[in-house]
Structures are given as C-alpha cells and as structure tokens.
Symmetry: C2
Subunit: 156 residues, 2 copies
DNA sequence: TTGCTTGCAAATGATTTGCACTGCT
DNA sequence: AGCAGTGCAAATCATTTGCAAGCAA
C-alpha cells in the first residue's frame, strides 16, 4: 500500500486541519475521508464519485463539508458542462495546474505547463487584464478534446 | 442608430439562418431577437438579461431557442460559478477570444490575446494534451479578477 | 453543557418538458 | 392540412436547508 493509498500525507492533513481551525471548524473523520479521496484519486471528482469513496457519508453532509472545505480554502469547485460539479484540492495544497477535459466522457485530468511558458503566459494575461481595467487574481486554462479511451477507432 | 443597435449585421443573420436551415429549423423572429441581443451587448449574457432585451419572449422559449441555436453551432453556453449560465455567439461567428470574469459582480467580458501569443500557446497546449493521450479540439482561458467597478476603494 | 456535525426529509431554484394553440409553408 | 414554434404550467434534478440527535471539548 502506497503512502497515498494509505491516506493523504500527514502534511496535507496538517494543512487542512490548520485552515479549518482558523475558521473554528473541526477536522472530522468525514472531512478526512473527503480529503483522502482527493489525494488518492488525484483528479477532479464529482460528488457521486466521492460518495463511493467516502462510505457511509450522507450526500447532504458531503455537500456541506465540501462547502466548508471550500470556504476554508482547502477545496476548489469546478464547473463544466457536466451534470455534477467537480471538486479538487485547492491549488496551494497541490500545485498550479490546468485541466484536460474529455468532451466525450467528461473525464477531467490535471496538467501543468512548463514554468517558462506559465510565467510568460502569466505576464501576458496580467497585461491584457490590466489594459481592460481588471485587477487579475488568477487564471484557468481548460483544454477540451477526446481522452485516449474516447478517440474514434482505437482497436486495430 | 448604429448598425449594431439596428440589429446584427445582415451577414450574421445570414450565417445563423444558414446553420439553422441545415438542421431544418426556422430562423424565427424570436431567434432573431436573441441573436440581435448578443450582437448588441457583445458580451456573454445570462438568460434573465436576455429576456429584458427580447421583450415578450417566454422564459421557456428562450431556453428552448438557445438550445436549438447551440445545437446549430450559432451559440455557446458558458458555465461559471454564477447562478445562471451565460450565453454568447459561437466563436466562429465572432472571433477566437477568452474571458475576463469579475469575481465580485460576475460580469464577463471578452478579450483576445495577440495572435503571436495565441499561436505559441496553441502549440504548447496541443503538445501537452497529446503527451497525455488527449486529442485536443479547443481551449478556453478564463482570467478572474475584479472589474473596474469592483476594485476596492475607487472614490477619492 | 455548548455548539459543531450529521443524516434524513423537505425545500429551492435553474432548467426542462408536456400539452394545446398559433402560424408558417 | 401538417408540422415547427410558442406560452403556460408542471416536472426534473443537483444542490441547499430545517430539524432533531450524536459527539467532542
């Protein structure tokens, strides 16, 4: 059993607990289950998917806990065309990344751009935003396409 | 009265009508009103906003028409955190652009990157996607921040 | 105890759909 | 006539919320 499969690293839990503590919220077993699921899956997941991992957790509690975790800055909610929203660990608990979204099956995976590209992109986006009177805080890039399982005619 | 305020350009209407025709759908007055509103506002709008422009159009009809127009490739639906989805003209009826989103008031505006940056970005994104086994079709960049009206401490 | 958490059931609200009617073609 | 389009009212469904009970400090 890998460290990840065993549960998220102690460091991750410490950070999440800290952020919850700052808001007088407890780091309960349910919330740990959720964070563990994110750490194990390592990709944005929907609430139904999350529930299959966090056995025994009520749907409403999952929604409530995700809201608390999002509020505390430990989780981020993503909205794409899918029926359900996707949730993932906050970027500062992982690393700055973007998303690859399969237009066929809805799968979402993380990707990172090279630091060089990311840096020049950052500057460019800041420039454009400022020119429009916006004070930029962050950005997101989504690449849509077909994942390996959904490309037409895979088998020989 | 400008050409835009007078109604979208004849060319735009011709293209939309053509796409609807290909799917055996009519380009009715209601649909024209919707397209006109997009052309005049020139930014992604929510359904409630659209209804204030398309006087007399029933909410359900607006939703249905937008679905038809999206299906025909004339309109694109955007999902962000807001209560309502945003709609805009399809990119190939306007031009490739990205979005500036105000985290405070939800306003969304279009921006374009320089063609040089856009081109190198395109290549880079294609490369990353392919390396992950994805066959990319398109991409979207969202810059979040505060619009001029929402930056803290504006008045002197 | 006090108050954060939780599960269950009921409520909410954007979006969708059933149906009967109007209006092109 | 025949069928796409429309308005109205009712239905859907992800997400949220009220409430009573459980649990940790």
């Amino acid at each position: 059993m890998t460290a990840a499969a065993n549960g998220a690293g102690a460091e991750l839990h410490r950070l999440v607990g800290e952020r919850l503590g700052e808001r007088d919220q407890r780091y309960t077993a349910s919330r740990r289950q959720i964070i563990d699921a994110f750490a194990v899956l390592a990709r944005p997941v929907t609430l139904p998917e999350l529930l299959t991992r966090a056995k025994g957790l009520a749907q409403s509690s999952a929604y409530r806990n995700l809201a608390v975790l999002e509020e505390a800055g430990a989780v981020r909610r993503l909205l794409h065309g899918a029926d359900h929203a996707h949730y993932e660990l906050a970027e500062d608990l992982t690393e700055h990344h973007h998303h690859l979204i399969c237009v066929e099956c809805g799968l979402i995976r993380d990707i990172t751009l090279g630091s060089t590209l990311e840096r020049s992109l950052d500057n460019a986006l800041d420039g454009v935003a400022s020119a429009e009177g916006f004070t930029p805080t962050h950005h997101a890039i989504d690449i849509y396409g077909r994942c390996a399982d959904c490309v037409p005619g895979p088998p020989a």
